[in-house]
Structure formats: structure tokens, C-alpha cells
Symmetry: C2
Subunit: 343 residues, 2 copies
Amino acid sequence: MTDLLSVAKKAGVSRATAARVFSQPELVRKTTLQRVLAAAEELAFRPNRLAQQLRTQATRIIGVLLPDPRNPVFAEQLLAMELAARQQGYALLVTTTGYDASQELQLVEEMLCQRVDGLVLTVADAENSEVLAKLQRESVPYVLVYNQPTDPDVQAISVDNRLAMYDAAQYLLALGHRQIGMVAGPMAQSDRARLRYDGYCAALREHGITPRPVIEMASHTRASFPLLQSHMQGNEGLTALLCSNDLLALSLISDLQRHGHAVPDDISVIGFDGIELGELLFPSLCSVVQPREAIGREAVAVLLAMMRGEQPDIGKLPHRLRPGESAGPLQRPDTDAHRIRTR
Amino acid sequence: MTDLLSVAKKAGVSRATAARVFSQPELVRKTTLQRVLAAAEELAFRPNRLAQQLRTQATRIIGVLLPDPRNPVFAEQLLAMELAARQQGYALLVTTTGYDASQELQLVEEMLCQRVDGLVLTVADAENSEVLAKLQRESVPYVLVYNQPTDPDVQAISVDNRLAMYDAAQYLLALGHRQIGMVAGPMAQSDRARLRYDGYCAALREHGITPRPVIEMASHTRASFPLLQSHMQGNEGLTALLCSNDLLALSLISDLQRHGHAVPDDISVIGFDGIELGELLFPSLCSVVQPREAIGREAVAVLLAMMRGEQPDIGKLPHRLRPGESAGPLQRPDTDAHRIRTR
DNA sequence: AACCAAAATGAGATCGATCTCATTCAGTAG
DNA sequence: CTACTGAATGAGATCGATCTCATTTTGGTT
């Protein structure tokens, strides 16, 4: 409707000159500049980014693929990315997978059709992912977030998941706990949950304790006490639980309390992520804090660097164990009257 | 690179035919169809949506403007919208305002340059918003979410905020509370907070109680006990608080507890929104539940209807008071030993 | 007044699809 | 075998900007 050509006509100049007014105003004589600007103003000219994008072969749009914005970890990362991206003149096209790996390929394909300049992804499992293989093959710039692939050539922004969970386990061990379990969502679909389990195992072994199999929940974000029990056949009464994310931890604490178990008196619980809400609650959530904003910002920064053709070299981002009321020293070391048992 | 023209050449047909293969395959003879598809496959052809969008003047992109995805209310809405949109072949371009009305105009302008087909917005204040005026003027399809403007011509998906808070206040009154306050974020910036305050006032007046001035917090999502105290100069000891959203309520409960006030024994707290997390915590959060997923879905549905030129007529969506442990019957009706006082 | 480099401007192709309208093709009837 | 009809296909304009390269202006020199 109100395209550049109309503006140019109204101002009595050519398309080219009108275009220059917006892209390289310094090349235009001041008087013509003002004439064109006036015409643009009058016609309520609004540059058409589609045309720009088509012509310049650059959209300044970043495609974002994440499991679920309802998980504060992703919401916080999303916000940080949006701010960082906007500051550099980029916008975000956002898609969610619902933790469903089978959707990843098609969703990414969709964004590639839109010609996003690059992608920020959190995939289910970075190790054997069709999507990543394809992106690699087509050399589309992309950055993983939260994923921690083995391949060092893949750019990924994350903490050292193994070490982080190792630290959390050590924390519990230092508090005197010996019967420690780990709760996670569906393992097959999460590279980071597996690494965290490794860390848990390593810490226990260092203390001569045999790690238990992971207690696998059906949901990535919702733990239930009955399911916990059913996974504990033949196990000793636990005194502490590590959760592979904060939402699991919070829902678990809630369900434990509902079933008459006190946290941390009967059982200590540690989460992973360090979402803000955890600090507001009672008991406050002890958790391994990931720097979510920094992760988001860094993801954008690294992606933009890659798009400029640089070879950014990123290390792991630092994690930190945030103490909280949900994890305390082992109580009644010689009786387990209140401990959890298999039914 | 791998444009339609290359495919057409490889298949030995014209651009037009090649294009038809993807848009109206029924018009193409089966043998040519397969030849073109084979060529496309071989060249790894990926349709360029920018070109399509430019030519057809339709992007199938919905612009989304929301305050902050870290608030679960918006995260849940966002997810619902993404799913609904994708099902109809639309994608989301997401922008955040950080509750800052002064950014709204520019952010929307940006999305209009991208030629989004329509907008879903949650603005600070729908009553006197430049953005809405502009969108109206340019007849860009848009839908408000959570906002509740006076103007009936503006499409808005929300609950009846006034009635919802009225119900919450009635709930407290029925529990015997008489000293009821309302906590909110910055009022000047929130049409819905004002309506909720109206509802609070109405309920109290019906019981012959003079409403108190709103207790205004600096943040939209974080309440503090000291700030609460400082706003209560000359007031009686409160026994119950209504919060204009769940995050305020949760942080307030946490801060109350930290300052030695028991919830609900010393003071009852009710939130607004009904975020899932509220149910997991202890005490579980009593809250006015908004149907967030339905709101998100509806927003997309209504917007698409508008884009088709229809005149969807939407009523308010239903709210419901979800009881919770954070709000209980009035304790010790004649002593206020534990009640909150101004210092 | 003539000349020249530098500064402004313009003409036209281009990005990759879609759409209209004209043209060709295949199959059938006479 | 010719004519006719509907199905398939093609030619070329178009969406709205950008970019290159050619051309015109401008302003300063001599």
C-alpha cells in the first residue's frame, strides 16, 4: 500500500534515493532527505521487512525451539534471549515441543522455511538427534541450550551437569545422608538427566555407596509419591532425594507432605535449576542453580558470533548450590521410623 | 539457492507448474507431479516463505506482546497460543514489554513492519493506550488478553475481573474476616488491577465495611512485608489479604512467614490467576482461577476469526475460586495479639 | 567560462514465490 | 481426419525492497 515507490513519487525522487534515505541517509542531500522523510511521514510509510529480508537474504529473526515455557527455566531463558536479541535488532520466532523429540524435525524445518538466520534449541537428546545432524549438514548456525552434547564441535550453553549433580550429592553426603536416591523425568529423552545421574553415581561411589537406579517419573515436571514408592522395591528407606529439576522437586515435596512425610525432617530434597520461586516457598528449595539469564544471553551472543562467521569458544557456565530449608542434616541416624519404605 | 526455478528447470517444466505442484497439486498431471517432486527432493528444495509472504501479502505469523513470560500466567497462555496457532498453520513472533507501557508502541510497530497478520496483546492499560488507538485506526486485527477495556468494540479475552475479586472478597467475608486488605502491583499501569480493586471494594461495602486503600507494591510480581507495613499507617490489624496475582501472593506469604506471621492462622492470603504451582505448595494457595489455557486458545481463535472478517462476539471467560490452605476462617475474633500492626 | 572530481541520483536487475491469462495438449465426437 | 472441449502448461507481471552501475549535479578551480 504505502510502499517506498509511492513515497519516492510523492517526494519526486527515484526508488533508489528513497531507499537510501532509510539505509544510508548520509549519501542523500539534506534537502532531498527531508523531502522524502516528509513524504514518508505523510503517507504513513512502514518499511516492509519481508521485502528487505527477501532481497538481503537475512531476516534478523532467530528461531527458538524449547520444550515448554511453563517451566520457569525456559521462561527465564526466553526472556533473557528476547532482550538480548532485540538489543541487536533481532526478533524471536518461538516454537515449543512439549518435550517431544519427534516434533523437533518438523518444527525446525518450518522455521528454516521462514529463513531464520539462526536457531537456539533445547532438544530432548543432543546425542542422537536428527535435527542437529541436518543443521550441521546444511551448516545452519545454531546453538544448543541446556543440552550438553559429547561432540565438542557443537556449540552448547550449559553448566557442567555431571559436576553440578555431583556437587549436590556431595552436599547431601556431607550432611550425613547415605540413603540417597535420584528422581528424574523420562531418561531416554534427556541427555542432561543422564549426565546428572552420572554425577550422582560418581559422588556416591566415592563414598563407597552403591548408587541406586534412577527413580523415573512419567512427567518431566511432576513427581508423585506413589510412583516414587513403586520404584523403590527392595530398597532401604531413603533419607534424601536429588531431583533432576526444580519442578519435580517442588511437586515431590508437596506430595511427600501430603502423604505425611516431613521435609526435611523425614527426608531431604534437592532440586536442580534454581528457579526463583523455590526461594519464596516454605520450606525454601535447596537447589543447584543454573544461571538462566546468563545462559539465555550467552546463547544469543554465541549465535550472533557464529552468524558473523566467528568460532566462539565457550566453556561451561558456572553452577552453584543454593542451600535451602528442603535439605537438612540427617536426623535420627539409627532409627528409620519415619523414613520412606516400600509399601 | 534451491529455489523453485531450479526445481522447475531440473524437472523440465515452467516455474508456474512447479509452483502448482505445491499449492494446487490437483491441477498437475500425475507424471509431471512426480517429476517435479523428484527434482525437489533431489535438490533439497525448501520453499521460501518470505517470497510467499511477500507475494500473497499474508505471513501466517501472529505477533504476541506480553509483559513477562516468567509469570506463569503468560507462559501458560503462550503455550496454549502456540499450540492453537500451529494447528492452524500460524507461527508466533514473541515480544516482551516487562510491564513497561512506554515500549509497547515501538514493539508493535516492529511487528507490523514484519507484516504479522494479527496481534495478541496484553498491554499495561487498555483504557488509554496509544497502541490500541493506532491499531484501531489502521484496522489491524488484534485481540487483547487479560486486559478488560471498557470499550465493547475492542475484542478482549478475560474473566470478569471485578466480579472475580468480588467473589474472592465474599469468600473471605464468609470465613468471618472483616479486616481485609488488597495488595497489588503498580496500579496506574494495570487496568485489571483497578477492576479487581473495584470488586474488592464492592464486596466490603455490601457488608458495611469501608474498603481500605489498595496496598501498592513496587513490583508486579513481588510483594514485601515491610512495604506492606508501611502502607498500613493508621489501619487496624488485618486478618486477610487479597492479592492481585499469584506471584504477589506467594512472595507475600513467604515474607509474612519470614517475619513470624503464620498463614493462614494469623492472616489469610488469596491470590489471583490460579497458577498450577500454587497447588503444589504448602500452604497451598487459595486463588481465583483464570482459565489460562482456554484464554490462550480463545485468543488465537478469535483473532483468526477477525482475520477472516468475522465479528466474533465473545463473553467473559469463567473464573472460579479455588480454595486452599492459605485462606482459613478468622481466628481469635476478639483478640488481635498476632495480627499485623503498623510498627 | 570551462573543467573536473566528488557527490547525488536514477535505471534496471534481482530476491523467490504466486497469479492471471494465454496457449498448447490430449481425448472425444462427428 | 477435423473440430472441439477441458485439462495442463507456460509467459510474464507482481509483491516491495536493495544493489550495482551508469548518469547527472554540484561546487570548487583555474
